[in-house]
Amino acid sequence: MSEAAQELTVSVWRGDARAGAFQGFRVPRFDSQTVLDVVSWIQQNADPTLTYRFACRVGMCGSCAMMVNGVPRWTCRTHVSKVVEAGALTVAPLRNLPVIKDLAADMDPFFEKWAGSVHEPSASRDDEIAEIRPDDPKRAAASSAIECINCAVCHAACDTVAGNPDYLGPAALTRAWTLFNDTRHGGDVLEVVSGAGGCHNCHSMASCTANCPNELDPMSAIAGLKRATVRRVFRRD
């Protein structure tokens, strides 16, 4: 294996919410190596005090997202060969979130923004289950939002979140779009997303859509919410 002889130069952000700095490591290069493999190698072989977060390693749990060379990515599914620049990698905690320690970002502000987008059942277990046809227009519209793994990559990519911490962000609004299109949802999600930090703050820069590892389209979902909230004012529906 020719690549095994090569080494990566990796800068890893070390520190906590108060202060920190990048620390350099030399990591052996392997075939099909992911960024999470690199971080794990450092923790297992170079510095066991390195803190980071992961669980499933197959792109399902959404816990291993980090900034890789300045771009938010799910590290378990990001091959080093795709992102390495001149043999170097820079790994940092997710942008737009407080740091707990090293590469572990505090996800509380992210999930707190989901609070208004919780499913409220419109029926009990004794009622008939509402039929939702796959070709129903509302179900089709929700496709831009379903399959979100809550990795916060879109939240870290969003410049509007960076400039306005009160903004709900693409993930929470995408969830709201799913609920809006779910006939089984009994709550009024449009009022939740119409406040001061709501969907109308989005500048449609599409960093969320460009960076979503699951290839979802939060920007279109937010645009749908904007249309629906404005339509309600004029049509009173």
């Binding site: 400039g163 119409s194 001061a196 109308h200 703050n201 909230t229 404005v230 004012v233």
Partner: protein, 107 residues
């Protein structure tokens, strides 16, 4: 920072301004044919209710649109949180006063 009423007002004011901007551009090209002089411009605009209404509406729409836009810029780029409402009203009122002053002066 921006809620639904502000969003709607900013979009509606933009909608009002689109034809006015194109009319204004066309008017500038037309009016300067054969030289631009104060007398020629004032001769067309003074005593004209049409131009008073045209530019009066333009000023109101631009003031509202610009005030909400500056509110967002000050919030996102300068990190302003408190006083954003006051800033919005202040900018809107200032632009309206300056604009209407100019409109009254030429019509």
């Amino acid at each position: 920072m921006i809620n639904r009423p502000l969003f709607i007002i900013q979009r509606l004011s933009a909608l009002v301004m689109v034809p006015l901007v194109f009319g204004h551009l066309a008017l500038m090209i037309y009016a300067v044919q054969g030289g631009l002089s104060v007398d020629e411009i004032l001769g067309r605009t003074q005593g004209s209710w049409f131009w008073f209404c045209y530019y009066g509406v333009f000023v109101l729409a631009a003031s509202v649109h610009g005030a909400i836009g500056l509110r967002t810029i000050c919030g996102e780029w300068l990190g302003l949180r408190r006083g954003l409402d006051m800033l919005t009203w202040l900018v809107a009122a200032s632009l309206t006063c300056l604009g209407l002053w100019a409109v009254v002066a030429v019509t």
